[in-house]
Structure formats: C-alpha cells, structure tokens
Point group: C2
Chain length 156, copies 2
C-alpha cells in the first residue's frame, strides 16, 4: 500500500523540487561566469577557509560539503591542478589524505565571495522574515537528517 502525497504535500514537494532544479544551476551559472568555479568548488574552498590551518582530511571535507569521497576526490584533483588547494599525506595515518587551501585559493575565494553571497541573498532570503529563516533552517535540517539516517547512500 503506497502512502501517496496529499495535495498540500504534493505542492510543497513540487516547489522543493523546483528549488533543486532551478537554484543549483543558477548558482553554478553565476559562479562559473564571474569566478570560473562551480558552486561545489566554492563550498570546498569555503569549508577549508574556516578550518584550523585551512586544512581538513578528505573524508571530513566530504562530510562538510555533503559529497561522496569520489566526487570530492575528482574535484580536489582539479582544484589542486589550478593551485587553489594542495594535498599531502597525514603524518599520523598513512591512509589519510589532507587538503589545504593555498594562498592563491584564499585570494580566489575572497574574490568570489561577495558576488556569490549577494546572489544567495537575492535568490533565497530577500522577502523572508526571521520566522521564515528559522523555519527554513529547521525543515531543511530535518530533511538532511532523514537522508543521513536512511543512509541508503553508503557511498563510495
């Protein structure tokens, strides 16, 4: 017996799907045009920039960017080729790879940030009041948790 969605749920779902289908390409598009990077690239740089020593292990960066290790590995390889990050083996454990934001990567991130943040603000937060923001944080957080628990994505 399938538990179908009722009308309210269906409308909510179609709107959420709309956000995923429209917002993500729009962000990529702005960052690609203005800063020659994808939104995911930006997230990687941003997460590194906030970490001690601007350094994280691959698996930790993967968690913080909500990505599979595989996806991250491909992207970090690209970012390293551009000189925006560098990889090096962890001193403590031979199977761990560390990633560090370079000085150049930091400059690129700082240059990209204003335009990106302005875009996010204008596409997401303009016209939302504090209550809406709180609701968004709560509901989106809830969805993320459900997905993590389902853990269908053991992910390679």
């Amino acid at each position: 017996m399938t538990r179908w969605l009722n009308d309210d749920e269906l409308r909510a779902w179609l709107n959420l799907a709309g956000v995923m289908l429209k917002l993500s390409p729009t962000l990529d598009s702005q960052l690609q045009r203005d800063s020659d990077m994808t939104h995911f690239d930006y997230l990687c740089l941003a997460m590194l920039s906030e970490s001690a020593d601007r350094t994280l292990r691959m698996s930790e960066l993967a968690v913080r960017t909500n990505a599979s290790l595989s996806r991250l590995s491909h992207v970090v390889k690209k970012l390293e080729a551009r000189g925006w990050v560098e990889r090096f083996p962890c001193a403590d454990s031979g199977r761990v790879t560390m990633v560090r934001l370079t000085a150049e990567g930091w400059r690129v991130l700082v240059a990209a940030a204003p335009g990106h943040v302005e875009t996010v603000r204008s596409l997401v937060f303009d016209g939302l009041d504090a209550e809406d923001v709180a609701a968004l944080e709560r509901i989106a957080g809830h969805v993320v948790e459900l997905i993590e628990q389902a853990g269908l994505r053991t992910v390679t």
Copy 2:
C-alpha cells in the same frame, strides 16, 4: 558593500544547500536502481501523464519541469529512444514540437511511482506536521519565484 548573511541565515543556507546536495542524488539513485531512470526522467513522465492527451509542447514541459529547453531536448530524445514518449510536429505551428507519453511510458511510470513516492515521503515528509508542510510550500515557492524573476537564466 556586500550584505553578508547573519548566523541564522548562514545556518539556514547551509542546510538548504545540504538538501540540494544530498536529496537530489539520493532520489536519482533510488530511481536509477529500481526503475532505470533519473529523477528528471520521472518528472517528465509524471508531468505528461497529468496533461490532456498525455501530451505537451516541449516548451510547456520545460516550464513544468523547471528545465531548459536544451536539457529537455536531450532527455526527450533518450526517452523517445526507449519508447517511453514520442515526438511529433504540431499541426498549428511548424516550429512547435509536441511530446506524448506512450502506453509503454505510462506503464513504466506507474511501476516507478510507488517506490519513488515512498522515498520522497520517507526522506522529506516523515516527521513534518501540517504547519511545516505549509511553511515548506510557501518558502520554496517564494524561492522559485525569486529565481524566475531574476530571470538571469534566460536559458537556451
């Protein structure tokens, strides 16, 4: 002067980004595994199934699936090759292409629907009350509108 995000907005944004980064691949993964299609394929079939004659013009289907015409064209070509939809020229206007869901496409959609809906329910709606659903509909709808207005994506 960049208007940065405050702490609440930042947390809300990171959670929303998390939804986009995690939900979308998870849905694709379930549909790919169980029904050999992507989430976007499913949306196309679903939108056609609800239309008069199970038929729409390409540009209208693009609007309803929140996609660019280019993306849609590639995907419809694939779906047509599988025999799930068929294209034919519009009688009224020579530059319009119509897409129709075939009987086979309908069967495939009906077979995929229960698993997909169950996945959406379990990853999004489980644990949300009616107020949350209403808030989600409202906020996500708002974001979609902002993006459409910005219309940066004139899209090819």
